[in-house]
Amino acid sequence: MTEKQIPVLTIGLVTTLIGLHWLVVDKTLLYFSAADIWSGEVWRIISGHLMHADLQHLMWNCLGLAVLGSLLESQSRQLLLATSGAGILFVSALLLTPFSQLDYYCGLSGVLNTLLLVALWSQWKLTRSRWIIILAFGSIAKVLIEVSQGISMVTQISWPPYAWSHVAGLTGGLAIIWIQSRGSQDRNRVHAGF
């Protein structure tokens, strides 16, 4: 395997999630908390997404990150970074509004939804497979069911599910896709001599 094929960033991120889960004694210092962020504990904007409530929570999110991170990193490390950043931005923005009404939030799943949508888009561009459309609609439908029912469909973690973070994550993914499309259009215009 060549150096380029090794998803170093993804491995690093997964290791960080596991390390934080096992090494941090007092997780309340790192959970996302809008009140604490407004009072100056700004690190929580990022650390909240990296902390997990329990082992099951951590395990599924690490699996998701390993797969989606590798997919995106195989195309471009910058793409993975930008997508993760957009996910954090959109999910955090939601959690900082009074709409969320959460005191504490943790977990990467909101951001993973950003990665998922961008990964699907990237695969669509590469393969034009109809499967991608089905998968995208399936993912969106699952999130909508979770939001409408206020449940987590399969996984039971020790904190109540907060499906709106998935909606925010998907929105972040749409933003990245839009920016990418705009970039492509601009490049096409340049090539076309506009």
Binding site: V25, D26, K27, T28, L29, S39, G40, E41, H52, A53, D54, Q56, H57, W60, N61, L63, G64, V67, L68, L71, S74, S100, Q101, L102, D103, Y104, Y105, C106, G107, S109, G110, L112, L116, A119, L120, Q123, L126, T127, S129, W131, I132, L135, G138, S139, K142, G150, S152, M153, V154, T155, Q156, I157, S158, W159, P160, P161, Y162, A163, S165, H166
Partner: protein, 680 residues
């Protein structure tokens, strides 16, 4: 040997932290240190818990073995569970279970001694104040086993939509005299099991045992859950004749804490559980009010006085205490002010009057705190006194007390503490650490100050406790509560005074009723000076026989109330007699009454009526009947909901990828691989 000594005082302190120390001692069999008496063995320890209809019934069955050549007495001690009414104690004599009877403490002790001296089978359960229940069993015959069982009942509280059950096993160990007198044997050598059966009409999202990941948690059906921990010694190999050291299958040195989380969005509610034999009889009820989440966050600046125990018992936990205070201070707003008082033999302040809770001041205070070392005794009164006299009467103030609660210097009587707190209008928030802390003292002080006391076990989820405390401290509370029931005659309500309700807290009221029919319930209180009223109507049934345990729960609450009066007014023979009477009538072990088991014929010969046996039989029948019936919904305010808003929850949230997402991730990976091959 004396019949029973009070066993252990213990203190395990914690303040918002995860760094615990290994407990010094635990529940277990006791042997006098330095004596030539050989140790008995705990062969089996089985705990069965049933939680339904707002209360928990815990039955602990044990087998003690005597591998030695002489007959011995077994003395088993365990921490007093929170608000536990011990009403059933059984000793297997000649292979048959014999249920105990409750007598006045001294009388029970004398009979136990008398039977023991005569070489007859006998067993005794005593309560040593807030510290321990102590069981003595005689004889454990040479080379034989004895089997005993103890059952207690407790109301179950839901706090901010989180239920919590604790099977206490840890003790602290600050009473050096007693510690040096006894040695503990806390190893179970053949078989241990903990089975919790939970039934509730409120949907539950999840069960959790933070310190027991090996627990098996199963949802049996809608509203029914089972939690179990099982540990057994492997069977001996066939043909093996060699005697080896007994295996230790479980150590009784760590509390078992079980949490369950109710689904979000459940309505605030009123639930009623009753017991009434029939028309014309007096009924007993348990009313549980779970308020809606209508208490607003507090935004104005307040004063906080931290009163911290740095006595010798805090050694080893001091850094954790500092960490906790640091975090507590970090939660304050810049408009808040704080001061820190430390106490051991004497109190002293380490801040210079009130300081604004800005990072610079907080860091300075923590630096000074770090330069201290725990030592000496616990002059809790002096610490509290200095805290109270440092308040600024122009501002809203609160005291945060973190201590083991076992005051052993200066004023130590509960009455003195209550008097002190009555003199000032200030809320006291206590953190009661470990099973051996003086909970009655700390809870009593919290009650008279309209504050609250939070119990923390070593096995608790500390992050959850922090969130719980923060939620209460940062929201308004409902004060000056007055509860009235009209339409049906009620009486003997307990608690008699309701104090304050903080965000997420339930109000549980016991009482008697006469007659039946529609009753109106009205709850009045004040939130930040504004009057607030909640009301509803519900039916008291003519007859209800499914929950006879409610009578004991009422009696226990009544005894608590009488004990509070005793603490407040000092020694009073009438109140003590009233406690004894209520305890004997309802078959409860208290500081004034004990439960004794004798050979069946000896009960008759000594003229002891088998009242408790009849009560236990009735309760056991009711339990069987409840098992056969489905999960019951005890909510009674459906037609006129008492609360407009859903009940409070912690406002936590998280989300996880799950097996469904594999359906998306796997095809993605396949497509990616295909694309990769095409590129090559």
């Amino acid at each position: 040997m004396k019949p029973l000594k009070p066993i252990t005082l213990g203190v395990i302190a914690l303040f918002f932290t995860t760094l615990w120390i290994t407990p010094i001692c635990a529940a277990g069999l006791l042997t006098p240190t330095g004596s030539n008496l050989p140790q008995l063995e705990i062969r089996e320890h089985h705990v069965n818990v049933v939680i339904e209809d707002g209360y928990a019934i815990t039955s602990v069955e044990q087998v003690f073995a005597n591998p030695h050549a002489n007959d011995l007495e077994a003395i088993y001690s365990f921490p007093v569970p929170e608000k536990a009414a011990v009403g059933e104690f059984t000793y297997w004599i000649d292979g048959l279970p014999v249920t105990g009877e409750v007598l006045e403490k001294q009388q029970a002790r004398e009979i136990y001694q008398q039977e023991k001296q005569a070489g007859r089978e006998t067993a005794l359960t005593e309560q040593d104040s807030y510290r321990t229940f102590d069981i003595a069993v005689y004889p454990v015959r040479a080379g034989q086993d004895v089997r005993i069982s103890l059952t207690y009942i407790q109301p179950v509280h839901i706090d901010t939509s989180i239920g919590r059950y604790v099977y206490p096993l840890e003790e602290g160990g600050v009473d050096e005299q007693k510690m040096s007198f006894w040695s503990y044997q806390d190893s179970v050598e053949a078989s241990f099991s903990f089975n919790l059966s939970f039934r509730s009409s409120s949907p539950i999202d999840e069960f959790r045992l933070p310190q027991h990941p090996q627990a098996n948690i199963q949802q049996v059906s809608e509203g029914e859950w089972n939690v179990s921990i099982v540990s057994e010694a492997p069977p001996a190999e066939e043909g093996s004749t060699t005697s080896t050291t007994p295996a230790v299958v479980y150590r009784l040195n760590k509390d078992i804490v079980v949490y369950w989380r109710q689904s979000q969005g459940l309505p605030g509610s009123v639930e009623l559980v009753t017991h009434k034999e029939g028309p014309g009889q007096r009924g007993t009820f348990m009313l549980t009010l779970t308020p809606g989440d209508d208490l607003e966050p507090i935004t104005r600046g307040r004063d906080w006085v931290f009163i911290l125990d740095i006595s010798g018992s805090m050694e080893g936990k001091f850094h954790s205490l500092i960490e906790g205070v640091n975090r507590g201070l970090a939660k304050l707003n810049p408009d808040d002010r704080f001061r820190i008082i430390l106490f051991n033999n004497q109190p002293r302040e380490i801040t210079h009057g009130f300081e604004n809770a800005i990072p610079e001041n907080v860091q300075n205070a923590i630096r000074i705190l770090e330069s201290n070392h725990p030592n000496s005794g616990t002059n809790l009164f002096a610490g509290l006194n200095l805290g109270i006299h440092s308040l600024d009467s122009d501002r809203s103030s609160a005291l945060i007390l973190v201590t083991d609660g076992v005051a052993n210097l200066g004023y130590t009587e509960k009455k003195d503490f209550l008097d002190l707190l009555e003199q000032t209008d200030v809320r006291l928030f206590s953190f009661v650490l470990g099973n051996s802390a003086n909970r009655p003292l700390l809870e009593g002080m919290a009650r008279v100050s309209n504050g609250f006391a939070i119990n923390v076990s070593n096995s608790d989820d500390i992050a959850g406790k922090l969130i719980e405390a923060t939620s209460r401290l940062t929201h308004e509370a409902l004060h000056d509560i007055d509860l009235r029931i009209t339409g049906v005659k009620t009486g003997d309500l307990t608690p008699e005074h309701f104090g304050s309700l903080y965000r997420g807290q339930q109000l549980i009221v016991f009482g008697h009723y006469w007659g039946s029919g529609e009753a109106s319930l009205s709850l009045d209180g004040k939130i930040s000076g504004r009057n607030r009223n909640y009301s509803t109507v519900f039916e008291f049934p003519e007859a209800a026989t499914l929950h006879p345990e409610i009578e004991r729960l009422w009696a226990f609450a009544k005894i608590e109330s009488l004990q509070n009066r005793l603490d407040y007014f000092g020694e009073d023979a009438d109140i003590e007699q009233a406690i004894t009477d209520v305890a004997v009538e309802n078959g409860l072990v208290t500081d004034y009454t004990s439960m004794i088991v004798l050979r069946e014929e000896r009960f008759q010969e000594l003229g002891i009526k088998r009242l408790n046996r009849s009560r236990v039989e009735k309760e056991q029948l009711a339990r069987q009947e409840r098992m056969l019936k489905g999960v019951r919904n005890n909510r009674v305010d459906n037609s006129q909901p008492m609360y407009a808003k859903p009940r409070a929850n912690h406002g936590n949230g998280g989300g996880a990828f799950d097996p469904w997402m594999l359906l998306v991730l796997l095809p993605l990976m396949i497509l990616q691989l295909k694309a990769g091959r095409r590129d090559q």
